[in-house]
Symmetry: C2
Subunit: 231 residues, 2 copies
């Protein structure tokens, strides 16, 4: 008797204000729209998003629990500042996590996934030639997570996302070091090649060098910042 109900599309449940607020905040952090160390007050977030304190607070503290934001001694939340030790630690963690994801992805990636990866790489090279900075960063994200998505491990991808989020606020500052590094793109070619060969070990190694290069750039940036701070 449900024949007459065929063809009804499921009505989409509107996301809660708190969820949308968190997503908005996460995107902003990821895009590097906040200076490292910037303070985010509950009320300012609420005002900026046009919601009351409750959802703003939930969004903020959700990101704190994810590790994307930090909460100071008196409860004020702020964009994390990266110390050298922290970057080194993130390097180790990312190598472990993304290496595991890469190995799994090399086994399971489909032909469609490979095509998407190649397309990402092409767009990335185009953006690099154009010198389009923001686009390049976004495409770099897309490129890597196209790999990790192929691993079909949602928890793992979530954790990797958390790691990337922690360095998000430095994406704007990292460009002079990172953009001119042509070997970065050469390495991306190595990643694609290893993936096409479905060689998990080689893929993990290539990704490790990618992470190491990014970490090196980050270290240079924060060293420069520390020097500027001291001056």
């Amino acid at each position: 008797m449900s024949g007459a109900l065929r063809g009804l599309s499921r009505v989409e449940r509107p996301a809660t204000l708190a969820d949308r607020a968190r997503e908005e905040l996460r995107a902003a952090v990821m895009a590097g729209q906040f200076e490292p160390g910037a303070k985010l007050t509950v009320r300012s977030v609420a005002r900026a998003l046009g919601v009351s304190l409750t959802p703003a607070r939930e969004a903020l503290y959700g990101l704190v629990s994810e590790g994307a934001l930090e909460t100071g001694a008196n409860g004020t939340t702020s964009i994390p500042v990266l110390t050298e030790a922290r970057v080194q630690e993130l390097l180790v963690i990312r190598c472990a996590l993304e290496g595991a994801a890469a190995r799994a992805a090399a086994e399971r990636i489909t032909e469609a996934g490979l095509a998407e990866l190649r397309a990402c790489d092409a767009a990335l090279q185009a953006a690099h030639r154009k010198g389009a900075f923001k686009e390049l960063m976004a495409l770099n994200w897309q490129f890597h997570f196209a790999i990790y998505a192929a691993a079909d491990m949602p928890l793992l991808v979530r954790m990797i996302e958390g790691c990337w989020l922690m360095t998000g606020s430095y994406l704007n500052v990292i460009y002079p070091e990172y953009g001119q590094a042509d070997h970065g793109l050469a390495n991306h070619a190595a990643i694609v090649a290893a993936m096409e060969a479905r060689d998990g070990d080689r893929l993990a190694a290539a990704i490790r060098t990618d992470i190491e290069m990014a970490s090196r750039a980050l270290l240079a940036v924060i060293a420069g910042r520390a020097a500027a701070e001291g001056a």
Copy 2:
């Protein structure tokens, strides 16, 4: 002029209700006091802890953001139920994370850390002989995190804690499989030996087998549960 102020101990800032609630909840989850899949409503938590909705909500959703709890389609939060795929994924993640932590710990552990580790192992064996189940689980936690603490990598330890939290609700159910496994304790001896030799690779391998054994036990348990569910 601050000479007269010498010896004053820092007055401890009272933790917020939300923090204490989250800690209470986390401990309960970790101790396996909730059945897998149990629903945790905001109001019931608030009532149980004697606080209002706001801190209870923050505690619940903080643990959700950490991955220790799950939130269903309609917003109800519940203890995560582990599928086989999820356990396999956690196995991979834990091997990557705890392997990295083990390698770092093998390099940096102090003599005091080694002593603590040996004490933990001794207590663990005693608890095993007594058949003290809860004590054994708590000591096992202590043993492993004594290792990871030696790595001096707070972010990494935090992530590992998150992984352990996800399996917390199964600690009560896992005993028949896990408790009688004497080779588990033999493996702990191997861990201590590798740590004493500061052999990172051997330590990582030993920890990997420990994780694999625990995963096997978990898989057996959830397979049994699935069969019971179908019956």
